[in-house]
Amino acid sequence: MAQIQQKGGKGGRSEPKKYDTRVDFTPMVDMMLLLLTFFMFVTTLSKPQIMDIAMPSDAEVSEDMAPKVRESRAITLLLGEEDKVYYYLGKIDESSYSDYTTIKETTYSTRTSNEGLRAILLERNMEAVNKMRDLKLERLERGDQMPVEEFNERSNEIKGDIDALTVVIKPLQASNYRNLVDALDEMQICSVGKYAIVDPTEGDLFLVENYRTRGAFGEANLAPQTP
């Protein structure tokens, strides 16, 4: 609001009029700050994150070309309905198909609690998790002076270790997109470097069905011969 003061003589000699042309900028500043806040929020929110994944090629891979994984260091996650996760360790042999307790059930972890999937992965991948933590601490101590290449190289070394955990993610038809992203997220959190998204096999479906029916399905049906 411009304040214009007018000093005028009443009658008599007319002296040169003096205008005070000071403009009050306060409302303008108010509006600017409002717009500023708006744009600050919009810019940070509009930029989404991306999660890179590399899928295995569907071309046939010969036996000796296939990556070698230690059976004892492998864990298979079956992403099921209603945010359930079924998992089993290592490889399943013929005899364990009939036993419905071969697979276990858990849930996804939340931000505040490590219970569920994260606890299971952490327990089995403690070494890599600790090494990654040390690496991150070292980077912090050096005041973020560590080049990105060095950090990536060393973290790949830790995650790619032969004794590091290998996770096979098999989303079932009943799962949803969030389940898949949550599972992939746990790989990041638990420093798992070796993981793959694979289709569930007949054997996996048999195990899950058997687990749901507490063994009744396994009694009525024969276990698949080639897991």
């Binding site: 500023l36 744009f39 994150q49 991306i50 999660m51 890179d52 997109y177 997220d185």
Partner: protein, 200 residues
């Protein structure tokens, strides 16, 4: 009698105004607006902190029923791919229709309906698109054609997938299989940021 003195407290706001205008300009210029999508999508949250690249990105938008829509952020590539697609599917597209095509951020109709779709007013595009999506079944997979042609022009173009977090997995699986089938094994999921749990 002593009269209460009146102070004129006048703060000069000009400098403040200058600063805010400067900051505002900066934020307006750096703001990146997402292309308007034909429907609302709530992306799942993840702890990944990698930002989506500024440029040279293809976004595959998947709706809950499995309809796919494609956004190519480079107008030059988009136009060339349209021309190739049009000749392959025997569709003629006028210059006016091409201009509309470049304006519309998402591709989402079968090729045989493309000219009629592009003649519609812009305001009806989203609604019309939601009924179709790019055909991606095994006999008529125009979706992989679009991607293959765009990647032939620039193989470094990044593919990102965007879907609602409640999308059933088989729907996503279909698109993922299609991409692997055309040897596009590396792609990204679009997620929104959530904080990592304490200590990680």
């Amino acid at each position: 009698m002593a009269k209460a003195k009146k102070h004129d407290v006048w703060i000069d706001m000009t400098a403040m105004s200058d600063v805010t205008v400067l900051l505002l300009t900066f934020f307006i210029l750096t703001a990146t607006f997402l292309p308007p999508e034909p429907f609302r999508v709530v992306a799942p949250a993840s702890v990944m902190e990698i930002k989506i690249p500024e440029y040279n990105v293809m976004t595959v938008l998947i709706d809950l029923d499995g309809k796919v829509f494609l956004n190519i952020d480079r107008p030059d590539v988009k136009l060339q791919v349209l021309e190739q697609m049009a000749s392959e599917y025997g569709v003629t597209i006028t210059d006016q229709q091409k201009r509309v095509f470049v304006e519309q951020p998402f591709i989402g109709v079968p090729m045989n309906r493309m000219p009629a779709f592009l003649d519609l007013p812009m305001s009806e595009h989203d609604a019309a698109m939601r009924n179709y999506g790019i055909p991606n079944d095994s006999t008529n997979n125009q979706f992989t054609d679009w991607i293959l042609k765009a990647r032939a022009l620039d193989e470094n173009m990044k593919i990102t997938l965007k879907a609602d977090e409640t999308t059933p997995y088989p729907v996503i699986e279909k698109v993922m299989k299609d991409l692997v089938h055309i040897k596009a094994n590396r792609y990204s999921f679009i997620t929104v940021l959530r904080g990592a749990p304490d200590g990680f």
